[in-house]
Symmetry: D2
């Protein structure tokens, strides 16, 4: 059988996560880097028929004037990641893929998001529907140009402010109707998701933006036979919460308070510095403790932009808990992780698993991907160990 | 049916762990404290027919001149745990139970251990066999005096130095033969274990001492129809390792080094300050990383005696790991736990579960107790989540 | 010469800091505790003729229904500080001194502060002037009743919101005039300060409230020949900043960012949980970096109320700095201090030093007390080492 | 006046500290890097007539087969410091200076040190005297070849084991006599120091090796009119101790225990992994607490080799102290510093200050350099602030 050719379309293609993903794909294909960080490279998932790195072509949307290569170089310079040799060797791939990056759409962005959009050809759209059509045209053109067997769309764009879904978000047909009206208040991320799924492409929301976590989108995915997943990759503090909170629960230790303080200095951090956009992230990080512990401890999460940290997100967590005979004790941890590098291999993981799911004929929410997300849509299990068992079951069963 | 009466016999009865266990039993019986910290109080174990706190009578061996109450008061004063009200209310129980504490045996202790034994009636024994008989006499007398339906023996004595088991430890009959000879070099903990099991009492080794983790002891337990468990309660740093290492493994993050630095100031710490005895503890803490990760990262564990900390064990762990594209990142944690308070509820847990196992007719190693131990005898699974599932299965299945 | 008798009048007398100060005075007088934590007990200050603990009588104002003893007991129970023996022995003193606590005045408090005032006899006042007179009447009555040679007034009341001083705060006579008008918007702390100083009593502001840091108050102090000091005792994170920032400066290491995250659970924390009141504290903590470093690094300070911590204030600081050849490095620290216990000995220190200053005939701002305060009024030196030298010079010179 | 030309001769020239120093000199000369990290670049030392970076020529001794450039590249690759652009631009200087590096002498090294010496031309010497003469020949040849006005010698070689100085170390003449005998047991570092000073070159010991901290060496320096300084650059944990311990002392807070745990992965760490050599370092780090506090708290210092950390030394310190009314509190810090980058600018500082001192006609121990050293020879003051004032006084006075 001929090797499959598949496309990875990234919304926010020139952002830190996307550019790192592209560099990683190129480096893996060229054998320049080990598969460290890739969950789908684990022996226990070996039975799955996943696409090799070499099978992928990269494209995407962005609203900023940047290329994959310039984004990689910026990360190298500012955050002191990657090495010169890998960048130089992969530069031709990054350059070629940058040609596939199209101007994004931005539907009524707030100020923080509008400030980013310095790409002159970002498209003004009269109605949500027009945005959807523009996106679909780009996706199909990409698929045809590169003769792709399949295409997966991932949202790695900047975090949007939270929004309260109205009744039009309850069912696919209502949403379709609402898209026609120029007055409809929908986040851009809903439009991207609608476009991809409606056109038959699996869709994964890597961000805390809530625009794809709607009954209407889920319904559309089932109707179109398309697999779907999200929301917000679980890369740092929340990952730790999802393994530590079950430990306290199993030992019957009572968590009184859990304080998490995050600082980071990349563009994502800059956008999150806007209180509106930050609200989405904090919400996404904070929900799981009550589910994991069975009660609601006092919990505080803060995220602050500290420029000098660049892509190195540092989290300090302070957990105050009570043991036997009323004794209060403390666990503190500090996590110093490079965000884009933690996220990128997971982007490849969920892309590969989505393409496989589509080939297997699965549609709707991919519950077995819960272990990848802070707020796994459609799954109430937040224990990372149990979430991972769901993936192993899928792989091995 | 009449209420069962059961005995909890603690070797090292006047130590921090044992005295706290006794205070906890009294406080639970009197309704003075919640069940926080007790695993067996979790709803998911509710189906098990476990003995209520009120069913327990406490006794034990020790070699020091101390009582349960004096040990509790010392912890209160030095480590600032417990409160005056609870101590006063439970003092009568502690006094009554102290009458059940008998002089321990100490077979060729090293200097650090010999230094502890200031109780004038500690018994000099001509042969291992004589020690076993003395212990059995004490256990049976306690059972009769208190009309106990069952009795469980736990070893909460000071950590012994490591020892290399000879061929006499390979089978129960060989061990029986060796006990007769006065020249036999066996740790005291082997003698206590032999005595308890041979007399038909379930036995749990809460310490890093290896004397009960022998094929001969396991064989004896099966022969006598007695349940058995150990070794070394998992209360702090190792507990965290057993939930964090699987997280790194599942995310395919490569751990380069894991450094753990423990400081503590209680009597256990003082004994561990002796390099010989420390070796047992370090060994017990260090084994699991290779099993959990599938490879052996550089790993360092140190334990140091810092007097001012008293019972507050503080651990600093530094985990250096590599993610995608060769990027090195760091997780650090600090654990500030009060050792006796972390251990005591688990003593009650394993005691209750051992008594139940005996009633159920189980014998030999209780694999379902693996989640309680740093080096669970007879179990290779070190993932705390999976170990806990074994317990849930036992409870719910 | 007969022993002097001196009074310590605390505004906020039943708060954590004040009650601990009172317990400490009683315990020192009875020889029940060492002088640890008392700066004025250091050998290098021995030349100063300071009042002995036994010389002090305690009184104060508060708006809550509480006594010194109840406040001490609450700290003992909730924050696990003090011991039963000390409390019992000192209870008679605390009871006696509680009789000297008078209802406070509260001039147009905001909601957070008004919520505290459950003492039924808190006095409604028609004008600022009336408040000042009430306070002065209480101070003089106390002095006469106890035949005090001297009396020092310290403000240990809840943090007020920041306020922007108007022109009436520029000079003592303008302030005097303004006090007459009922429409004047002045914080309560200005009224207390005015009352004390106008009546000839040294005054120290231990809080971040800005009401006593005004040219008008300073002018009044000089006019009345009264020594003055403030603002905000330097007990934790800021103390560390004032020794660490000079280290970075002297090594020419460039601090890019300094993030400080504070959590605490006492009543002060509860009041600070109100964003308005919090603003005063954050301001008070944040000013010194630019002065110490000579440039302004990115700096974030947050304070959050975490109930379970009670009086144990925990601060995590993350300092990101650049060394030679552009290399970024990190210092992090965690401070776990019990706030009232850190503050109380300093209250005694500044009280003793103020009484001495008055005897020496000094008036106006006591610059030599800068080392005690986060925002030392009238002093630009923030290097703790240099501030301390000012005190040593005063003592030894 | 013509520009001075000065030489910097580094023993251990191809080690991390030395190579970084050389790169820094080149980068400063070329204007490629700011003076961050250089104490002598501070405005408050501007009055001193110090040599500009461009005035320096670099040479040295080493026993390993390596060049300055290979050492720099290794640091870049393994420790992720420096950037490609700076290295390339400075490569010509590093290459030229490498030609000045001569084979070192190694007198009876222990196994750990002997293992390093893979340079084939390392010189076997029949007696200490012969070693001294070899070294002096190299120094003079370097001075002549480059027409240097002055030359300073710094020891940046691997840490030696501690040694107990015999009576021959008490006076310069006794030492001279001892050098003649082939049986004399002297550390290599004594020979280097003797050679440099005897030949009239200022000498600075940057290492914990004790070989230059001898009355005989001090006597020789005064006799030859040569300035001298050492021992062990104060770059990390000890620097922090020297600012934090005075803070505890000034607040009369009683430090019960101070635990410092250091991990590092460079060659220095590898040498220190040998228990013999480690002893020197631990001794050097541990002495100052008693001096600073006025009493001896329990203190533990450990240093461990953790390969993956490379040049990133990480220290965790736990300080347990008592405040008022017996309350125990905790300060913890984590220091993540890149060792060579912290040390290198200080090497330039002490070199510049030594050359100046010689020009000023000073000889013997330079007490005003105490702020640079962990164990400042001849100075009992360990308070960093006060040590720095000594330097300011020297500069400004
Ligand atoms: N890095 C992580 O560990 C991590 C983890 C979980 C989630 N996330 C989320 O992933 C997203 C990307 O993170 P990042 O660090 O790459 O951020 P980034 O700011 O570097 O990249 C986001 C990109 O999205 C682009 N963009 C913004 N609006 C767009 C639009 N309407 N259409 C097309 N492109 C648009 C921006 O121009 C930018 O290039 C964020 O939402 C972040 O919260 C990141
Ligand atoms: N506290 C924890 O969290 C924890 C966790 C795991 C394991 N452990 C282990 O539990 C054991 C007890 O810890 P602890 O903190 O109570 O120590 P401890 O020193 O307070 O108590 C040990 C007691 O054993 C007694 N003892 C010593 N030799 C004896 C002998 N031959 N016969 C009878 N009694 C003897 C001692 O006199 C002492 O009273 C230690 O081995 C420790 O390593 C403790
Ligand atoms: N504890 C520390 O380390 C520390 C350090 C620096 C500054 N401070 C400041 O000291 C002050 C006291 O702190 P605390 O922990 O004791 O707080 P607290 O809340 O325990 O005590 C404050 C007391 O002031 C009383 N009060 C409020 N308004 C009053 C009024 N108008 N008149 C009279 N009394 C009034 C309250 O009823 C309360 O009893 C706060 O402003 C705090 O920020 C504390
Ligand atoms: N880096 C720091 O922050 C720091 C701070 C204080 C002190 N120090 C000390 O500085 C010294 C150098 O540290 P480093 O990190 O550069 O170590 P390194 O191991 O990288 O360099 C030491 C060099 O000395 C050479 N050497 C060994 N024996 C020699 C001999 N007899 N003659 C000539 N050369 C010899 C080695 O070959 C090596 O190249 C160590 O003693 C270290 O403890 C370093
Ligand atoms: Na780099
Ligand atoms: Na207590």
């Amino acid at each position: 059988m001929a090797q499959r050719r598949v496309g990875l379309w990234m919304i926010g293609a020139c952002g830190g996560v996307s550019a790192t993903t592209a560099l990683g794909l190129a480096a893996l294909t060229r054998g320049l880097t080990p598969t460290t960080g890739l969950v789908t490279a684990l022996p226990r998932l070996a039975a799955l028929d996943l696409d090799e790195p070499a099978a992928f072509v990269v494209g995407g949307h962005d609203v900023r004037q940047a290329t994959l290569l310039s984004a990689v170089r910026e990360l190298h310079r500012r955050s002191n990641v990657f090495d010169e040799r890998t960048i130089s060797a992969c530069a031709p791939d990054l350059e070629a893929w940058s040609a596939n990056v199209r101007p994004g759409v931005s539907f009524r962005p707030n100020a923080a998001l509008a400030a980013l959009a310095d790409r002159p050809d970002v498209r003004a759209v009269p109605s949500p529907k027009a945005a959807v059509e523009l996106v679909q045209r780009d996706l199909r053109a990409f698929q045809q140009a590169h003769k792709l067997d399949q295409l997966v769309v991932v949202n790695a764009a900047s975090t949007e402010p939270p929004f309260e879904p109205g009744p039009e978000c309850d069912a696919a047909d209502r949403l379709a109707a609402a898209l026609e009206k120029s007055t409809t208040a929908l986040p851009t991320s809903t439009l991207y998701a609608y476009a991809a799924i409606d056109a038959g492409f699996p869709y994964v929301n890597l961000t805390p933006s809530r625009g794809a976590s709607l009954p209407a989108i889920e319904g559309l995915a089932r109707a179109r036979g398309v697999p779907l997943a999200g929301q917000d990759l679980k890369t740092g503090e929340t990952l730790l919460k999802s393994v530590l909170a079950p430990m306290f629960a199993r030992r019957n230790l009572r968590v009184h308070s859990w304080v998490g303080h995050n600082i980071l200095g990349n563009r994502d951090g800059q956008v999150l510095n806007d209180p509106e956009n930050k609200a989405s992230k904090v919400r996404s990080k904070d929900a799981l403790l009550a589910e994991l512990l069975g009660y609601r401890p006092q919990s505080l999460v803060s995220i602050e932009y500290v420029e000098s940290l660049d892509d190195w997100k540092t989290a300090w967590d302070h957990v105050h808990f009570e043991g036997f005979l009323g004794t209060k004790m403390t666990l503190q941890f500090t996590w110093q992780g490079c965000d884009s590098l933690l996220a990128a291999p997971l982007v490849l993981d969920v892309a590969r698993l989505s393409l496989l799911a589509q080939r297997r004929g699965e549609s709707g929410t991919m519950g077995h991907l819960a272990c990848f997300f802070k707020s796994p849509v459609g799954v109430t299990e937040h224990d990372f160990g149990k979430q991972f068992e769901m993936l192993e079951l899928y792989a091995g069963g």
